[in-house]
Amino acid sequence: MTQMSPVSPGMLPGLNTLLSRYAESMMWLARYMERIENLARLIEVTETFVRGPDGRTVWDTIVQINTDEVHFHTLYPHATEDDYLAFYITDLANPGSIKAMANAARENARSVRPLISTEMWMHLNVFTKALLDLEPSHIRRTGLSALCNRIKQDCQTHTGITEGTLYRDQAWLFYLLGRHLERGDQITRLIDTRYHTLLPADEEVGSEIDTTQWASVLRSAAAYHAFRRLQPVTTTPTNVVGFLLKNEGFPRSLALNLRQADGLLTALSTHYNLRRQCSPVRERLAELRATLEDQTTEDMIIRGLHEYMKWIQKEIAALQNDLAAAYWPAPQIPPQDVSPHTGQ
């Protein structure tokens, strides 16, 4: 991935006519594909590694990460494993399910189909269609782990095709903005939920902990081996949280993704004469990054990790809204659902 510099010299000519709607769809395409990948990874890791004291899988973790407690428990007062899986994989009525997100990714991809490469479209077309055809009975037949792995790999294939074929213009910058904001949001959700379920309030920081569980947090973010290389011995909650929030080399850490987003905004403002619309977004992002750099992980934990994570999520949502206000101000006409048959 072009991590260090998303801008290449060839991005300049005559391209300041990107439709607002395209920019919005590119951003959401990236966000939904990230979300699908994250959820698939989370489900897989949860099944394998997240066990309660009785040795059974704690599926409720996923419900907490997605803040679905009320919705889910109203729907399933006595939830079974199959209920959790149906809700997060095949239930189209749950906007956070893999199927619903595949549908959203598909609609956005269809909107930007004139813009993206044929290879990107062809893969998205086949992949999202396959997810839309997924039924609860397929989950057990395929095996949950195999299914999640396949989904993850398809998302990564998408990332690779995009990197290799998408033209580097504004559409690319908005796509990457979506990816990095989404990764930032996802990591704070993971940390927030797992930190507090694994460390109940009455336990002291530093007390004996279940390292398996903390390893599962890392695995949920595909961070386990990178973390090990850095911290071969000491798996402490503080180390794990610090790595996921502040590490500058890990592709899913908050710090790295915010830095990437900052670079993209710089590219937008310097290369496309979009500086004016960009500045409130950049200010907000700069402040967000400063709070991350100015505090040690211990500070964050002492001051209240939960509040800080919630605040970051709120700020990332605000960044998304700032971008929308700057680049795709809401049209007067509500979006249309079904169009009549036209043509001859």
């Binding site: 249309q336 169009s339 001859q344």
Partner: protein, 490 residues
Amino acid sequence: MGARILQSQLQDAGIFAAYHVPDFFCELMNRGGPLPDELHSVRDRLAQFDLAELRHRTENAEKQLYRLGITFTVYSDREAIDRILPFDVIPRILTAQEWTHIEKGVQQRVQAINLFLHDIYHDRNILRDGVVPEHLVLKNANYCEAMVGVDAPGGVYVHINGTDLIRDRSGRFLVLEDNARTPSGVSYVIENRHMMLRLMPDLASGVPLRSVEDYGSQLYRTLCEVAPASVTDPQVVLLSPGIYNSAYFEHVFLAREMGVPLVEGRDLLVENHRVYMRTVAGLRPVHSIYRRIDDAFLDPLAFNPDSLLGVPGLVEAYRRGNVTIANALGTGVADDKAVYAYMPRIIRYYLDEDPILDSVETHICAEAEGLAFTLANLEKLVVKPVGESGGYGLLIGPHATAAELDDFRARLKARPDNYISQPVIDLSVTPTICPDGVEARHVDLRPFALTGKSTWVLPGGLSRVALRKGSLVVNSSQGGGSKDTWVMSA
């Protein structure tokens, strides 16, 4: 001796060995005389293929179409199904001479249509001279009051035209209908060629084929040529109803080929009678719009006030000459099935020339004689509703049951002005790969013409085949398939 000759002939016939050459004009096997040399060689090459192999190639091709999303959407009740246009690997071939005839005929017809439209929205000479009945034009559902007195740039109303052609038993080309509003299908002409070259490189190799690659750039050129005269570097866009439209793939295809934004109504707005699109850098002016939205949905201020697809104020911006809309509004009068009956006279009236392409003999049920004739000969005629598209609401007399005939008789008497009738034409056939082998299927041809400063016709066009045995209906929404159309360059 005799048996051996028969044996070797059968071997030469290959995949066509069991082909029952019908009594119709067959594009590849029976042209009522010796086969032109260029067809001969392609037929012989084709014959050597293995049928199972061809089927295999076709299946792969169709899978690829699904993967690529080269599909159209059929809406039934509450379901939306993505379908591909079935592709048949045996090409439909036109000789250079045949093509020259078609090209000239289409150019002539488009020229006459544009002159006719200009006339009916200005001086109405043709009505005053009694060549075309006034009510047929002025009371036509597609007649557009907003166009009266508007000068379309360059006098062009129909920039993109599709002419549906069929061949009769003698091989004569006949115009079946004109499509002067928003004709669709051109993307399949180009995609079919790509498919053909991928699937059958061995068949097309060395054959002098006219290319179809130019359509996108020719369309772009056309739309630039007709942009408002004051603009030097026009911004062209393609206006689509959006991702749920059945022809969305084609809209994507054309926007991409032209390198212009595909916009929806909500991407455009009108300020001070000028059209703009919403971009990340703010509003950008738009000068030339290839619209794939019907007249009625273009502008809620001018037409259907409930339309959310259109752009409020677009029609007034157009009337003031600040933007070009292609095709212009109100062109549906020219491709109306009732006006069709007058096309030979319209051509003579404006151009003082005989029509190069013949029309099908047409009875106008709005006229007493036409109705009487139609009612008396219903079982021999094709009856078509005026102003419909997609092959819906059609009666094919010889194929209809007594009950269907009675039902249609009642409909005719209730709304005679809603119908025309024509004799059943023995449409030409072409060998097509069918479940039971290579069989004859009826075929038509829709060449596409682009008109800016001049008229350019895409070599070939869309050949649609009726895949059901004996069926005359080639529409994609009614089980039709398509073929690559080859125009020989010499």
